[in-house]
Each structure stands twice: as structure tokens, then as C-alpha cells.
């Protein structure tokens, strides 16, 4: 029966913990057992520490016995992407560069999870430094899609999505720079939420592209995502881009906000490259919302075709700057045979970074270099303005935008590994929300005829997560796609 526990929702388990029908130690042990049984196949985790998790679980049970339980997350096993700092735990970013790194402090989201009583369980695999869409760029292992082990789980937060989908955790955290939460959520039949830029602190997140990165949850249901967001959101003086705003009771909003809503369908998102079964899933969702009394309107985001180009200029430019800190000096891999300090930089970075990270640093350095800055970086920032204006104009007419999350279901491992551009195209529908700073959520929207999950994306207005979650919950609570488990 233990897998029934680890495939339960966070909300249901919180009730069971409160009713003393299960203990955190039992639940955590079930997650450990499940991981031990199947992770050799899924390879979602870079590292685990069962003893440490059970100590946290016992502490949760003791709090509960003393009448001091902290809320719905107390005692729930939560897995973090291996790019979020947990004091005294490894943080590898799935890179040789940080293979032996141990975090000296907690990320703000980590502190918030600890304060909420969560059991921090394991470190989830990712594309190295979150650069990729398949988790094949990890320096350590290739995570597999639990629904088809020959296929990728998506990326970059593929370990976080696969661990949840395979019943190895109850909720997980990822980070999303161009779709790295939503695309793997779509591939793995789970909910993935990228909050508005600035809603969740980035302190303690290994930086990829600082103007785009956001931390967010993976969960089985939208209700669970609302619970998680309520815990991790909020202003943080340690992140100067953190937004000062009242944090809504997102879970309560699922009941109080009932629509009907106006939903926009961007015509530019339904062109070539879109898999017909994915398109059919979106059509089915449109029909659902229409039956709920929602008004469906076609909207236009005319600069959509430029999103990918703008993203790969801005994200790589910021990455080339952020990753300059990995220099072999203070806390990273250091090459053994350098002849002087400059040689040490060159060799340590050559040895520590994998191919995709090198490619992106090279591209980012190029677009920022003297003579090319105006033609590439500055121009991309200007087109970014136009992309953002497209969305804000659409929000004059509609409450949220409904799209596919990714053009296709999960692709085969190795299929796009040698062609970076084709890999980049799998993020084509998710990148816009990052460039415009908007919240986006992917929810399970059905399966292909070959049994692969399909994700639906809803993109909301800035800091309107309460509305976005309510709109997503309306579909999610009326369908049971999430209950279809992988055959593992």
C-alpha cells in the first residue's frame, strides 16, 4: 500500500497527518522505499539522504504530538532541484564544476519550507546549470520519463518532474528560466507553476539568467500548487528584485474565485510544428471552459516568432556573466596542472563545464562583446519590450491566455541531443512568459494515443496567481488525468 501513499496529493496527506491516520515517518519511509525500488530506472535523484529525511520526519511527528504542527506542509516530503541551496547538503547544479560543493547556507525558499515543517528529501537532477530541455545535459545521469523510459522527462527541472510523477516525492521545487518547470511538468503529467518574476525569492538559487529565473512548485494538483506557493512566496530583502506585495491565500482563492473568465487563445501558438494530438487536447480544454460559461477570444501576440531569438540572446548573455564566478578559485572544481592563474581559469572552466554550458557561455559572450552588443543584446532587449507589450495588450481583453505547454509530447532520449536549435524549439510556447515576467502554469491535459502525457498552459497577469490558479483549478478539479500513474 505504500505507493498509494506516495501517489496521494499533498492536500489529502495533510488531512491524514492531521487525523493521525499516517505519520510523517511512515510517509517519508514510503517515499524512501519507492525511490529505492525504482530510481535506478528513473534516475531522478542526484543524491539522497534517507537518515536525514527520517530525522526531519520524526521531528515533525513530535511537533504534531505536542500540538505544534505548522500547517499543511508539516511532515510532507518535498524534493528540491539540485540548484537550490540547503545548508550542509550538496548543491551540484548537475555540473562537474560543483560536484563536491556543500551549501553553507539555506536558500530563502528552503528556510520557508523548513519553517513550514516540510521534510526535505533528496536533490533532483537537472540539465547542467538549468540549461536544457531534456535533462540530458546533466554531467551525472540522464533522467528518464516515468511514462516511457525511452523518452526524456523534459528539462531543465526533469528530475523534479520525474521524481513526483514516479511517486518518489509528494511535491518538488524547480526553477524556470524559459520553461524549465512547465515543459517537464507537461511531459510528466504533473502540475508545474512558474510564478510572476519577483514573487518568489531567488536568494540561494544558483543563477542562470537573473532577469528570467523563478523558483516554483511541481505538484499533482493545482490545489497542491496553491498550498506550495503560499509557503514559498513573499518579499525577501536578500533578493533585490523581490516584489513587495501581499501574499494572497491562494488555496482559499480556488473556492472564492469562480469565474466565468475571459480566456485568450493566441493564434500564433497554433502554427506549424504543433503536434495534432496536443492541438486536440487544447481544443478539448477550450470546449470545457466554454461549457463552464467562459468567453473564449482569439488574441494576437504578434512578436511570438521572435521569442526564441530574444531568449537565446538575453539568457546566454546573462549566463555568461553569472557563470563567470565559476573560476576555479573559491569554491569550484580547480584544474590540477595550471601553470599560472589565468591558465587556471581556462583549464578549470574547460574541465568543469559540459558542452551545452560552454556553448551558451560562448554565445552569451559573443552577443555582449564589443562591436556586437548593439546588434544583438540591445536589439533583443528592445524586442523584449514589444513581446511584453503584446501580452499586456491582450490582458486588456482577457483574464488569462490558454496555450499548449510544448509543441509535442516527450521526445526520445538522444533525438535532439546533437541539434541545439531543435531542442530550443521545444520551449517555444513557454519562453514568452519569462520574457514578460508573467506567471504560467502547466496542468495535465490528457494523453497521446501512445500514452504520453500532454500539458496545457495558462499564462496569467502579473502577480495575479490567485486568479491563474483558480482558472487552472476549474479544469484540473474536473478531470482526473493526474491519477493515471506510470507503469513502474
Amino acid at each position: 500500500m505504500s505507493t498509494d501513499l506516495t501517489f496521494s496529493t499533498l492536500a489529502a496527506l495533510a488531512d491524514q497527518l492531521t487525523a493521525s491516520e499516517v505519520t510523517s515517518v511512515e510517509l517519508t519511509q514510503a517515499a524512501i522505499d519507492r525511490t529505492m525500488a525504482i530510481d535506478a530506472q528513473v534516475q531522478a535523484f542526484n543524491s539522497i539522504n534517507p537518515e536525514d529525511a527520517l530525522v526531519q520526519a520524526a521531528a515533525s511527528d513530535a511537533r504534531r504530538a505536542a500540538g505544534e504542527a505548522c500547517g499543511p506542509l508539516d511532515g510532507i516530503p518535498v524534493t528540491l532541484k539540485d540548484v537550490i541551496a540547503v545548508r550542509n547538503q550538496p548543491l551540484t547544479a548537475s555540473s562537474k564544476m560543483l560536484a563536491n560543493f556543500v551549501s553553507p547556507y539555506d536558500a530563502t525558499v528552503t528556510s520557508k519550507l523548513k519553517d513550514a515543517g516540510a521534510v526535505l528529501w533528496g536533490r533532483a537532477n537537472l540539465d547542467e546549470f538549468a540549461m536544457g530541455s531534456s535533462t540530458e545535459n546533466s554531467a551525472f545521469k540522464t533522467t528518464r520519463n516515468p511514462y516511457d523510459l525511452e523518452r526524456v522527462p523534459g528539462g531543465s527541472s526533469g528530475g523534479s518532474a520525474a521524481a513526483l510523477a514516479a511517486g518518489e516525492a509528494i511535491a518538488t521545487l524547480g526553477s524556470d528560466t524559459g520553461g524549465s518547470i512547465r515543459q517537464p511538468a507537461a511531459f510528466c503529467n504533473v502540475v508545474g507553476l512558474k510564478p510572476t518574476y519577483g514573487l518568489v525569492s531567488r536568494y540561494g538559487l544558483a543563477a542562470f539568467a537573473s532577469s528570467l529565473d523563478q523558483i516554483g512548485p511541481f505538484t499533482r494538483t493545482v490545489e497542491d500548487a496553491a498550498i506550495m506557493l503560499g509557503v514559498i512566496a513573499g518579499h525577501d530583502r536578500r533578493d533585490s528584485t523581490s516584489f513587495k506585495t501581499e501574499i494572497s491565500d491562494y488555496r482559499a482563492a480556488l473556492q472564492t474565485k469562480q469565474g466565468p473568465w475571459k480566456l485568450g487563445i493566441p493564434k500564433e501558438y497554433f502554427g506549424k510544428g504543433l503536434d495534432p494530438e496536443v492541438a486536440a487536447a487544447v481544443e478539448q480544454a477550450i470546449a470545457f471552459y466554454r461549457n463552464q460559461g467562459c468567453e473564449i477570444r482569439e488574441v494576437s501576440l504578434p512578436h511570438t516568432e521572435y521569442c526564441l531569438s530574444v531568449y537565446y540572446i538575453i539568457a546566454t548573455a546573462e549566463a555568461s556573466s553569472n557563470l563567470a564566478r565559476y573560476d576555479g578559485i573559491r569554491y569550484t572544481h580547480r584544474a590540477a596542472d595550471a601553470k599560472d592563474i589565468v591558465d587556471l581559469y581556462f583549464k578549470s572552466r574547460a574541465e568543469g563545464f559540459g558542452p551545452e554550458v560552454k556553448r551558451r557561455i560562448i554565445l552569451g559572450t559573443y552577443v555582449l562583446s564589443s562591436g556586437y552588443y548593439d546588434a544583438y543584446y540591445l536589439r533583443a532587449q528592445k524586442v523584449r519590450t514589444l513581446i511584453r507589450q503584446d501580452f499586456l495588450k491582450a490582458y486588456g481583453e482577457v483574464d488569462a491566455i490558454l496555450t499548449p505547454t510544448s509543441p509535442t509530447p516527450a521526445f526520445r532520449a538522444g533525438e535532439k541531443a546533437t541539434n541545439p536549435l531543435s531542442m530550443y524549439l521545444s520551449d517555444i510556447y513557454t519562453i514568452g512568459a519569462n520574457l514578460a515576467g508573467l506567471p504560467g502554469i502547466s496542468i495535465p491535459g490528457g494523453f497521446s494515443t501512445s500514452g504520453l502525457p500532454i500539458g496545457l498552459q495558462l499564462i496569467g497577469q502579473p502577480y495575479a496567481e490567485a486568479d491563474l490558479l483558480a482558472i487552472a483549478h476549474s479544469y484540473d478539479s474536473a478531470h482526473d488525468w493526474a491519477s493515471r500513474r506510470p507503469q513502474l
Binding site: Y105, E305, A324, I329, K358, Y376, R379, R384
Partner: protein
């Protein structure tokens, strides 16, 4: 668009402080050439009179009061150093 710029891989790798093998140089130059060709499409967009966006929302400088707070212990700050001695990180000689 005509006039696809040549990416001088040696120059850029030098700026990025990454030693590349000849095989890496060949592969990255070709792959990034494809990406740059794609990116050329941005030249079609009229961006005259458009302000650049660095952040999706306005970001302002944040000032903190100049007050001492507990920070990292020396042993915590140095625990990941590749080489250390007497509470300092050891590096190769910088000045002859």
C-alpha cells in the same frame, strides 16, 4: 538575411576564459552558426523608438541599513575552497 556574421570562436573563447579543443571549436562554431542564423530574424523588427527591457518590471536599487549581522563562519565560507591555508584560499602566484 544576407551578411551572417562569422563567429570568431578563438576570440570569444578567450574572452570567456574557456580552453576549447579543436574538435569543440569546430562543433560549436557550426552549431552556434545555426543559432546565429536563426537570431538574424530580429533584424526584421522595427525597434526605432522602442525602449530596451532589462527586467520585466522596474527594478530599483535597494539600500540596506549599515548594521552588522551574523554572517558565515570562516570555516563555512571556506569549506568548498579547492585549497586553503590559515583561513585563506590558496591560489597560484599572481605577481612575479
Amino acid at each position: 538575411m544576407a551578411d551572417i556574421p562569422e563567429l570568431d570562436i578563438d576570440r570569444v573563447a578567450h574572452l570567456a576564459r574557456i580552453a576549447l579543443t579543436p574538435e569543440e571549436k569546430t562543433a560549436y562554431a557550426a552549431q552556434l552558426g545555426d543559432v546565429l542564423k536563426h537570431i538574424e530574424q530580429l533584424k526584421q523588427v522595427d525597434v526605432s523608438d522602442v525602449e530596451p527591457t532589462a527586467h520585466a518590471f522596474a527594478v530599483e536599487n535597494v539600500w540596506a541599513d549599515d548594521e552588522a549581522e551574523p554572517g558565515l563562519l570562516v570555516e563555512d565560507a571556506l569549506r568548498n575552497a579547492p585549497a586553503q591555508r590559515q583561513n585563506m584560499i590558496v591560489v597560484p602566484k599572481v605577481v612575479e
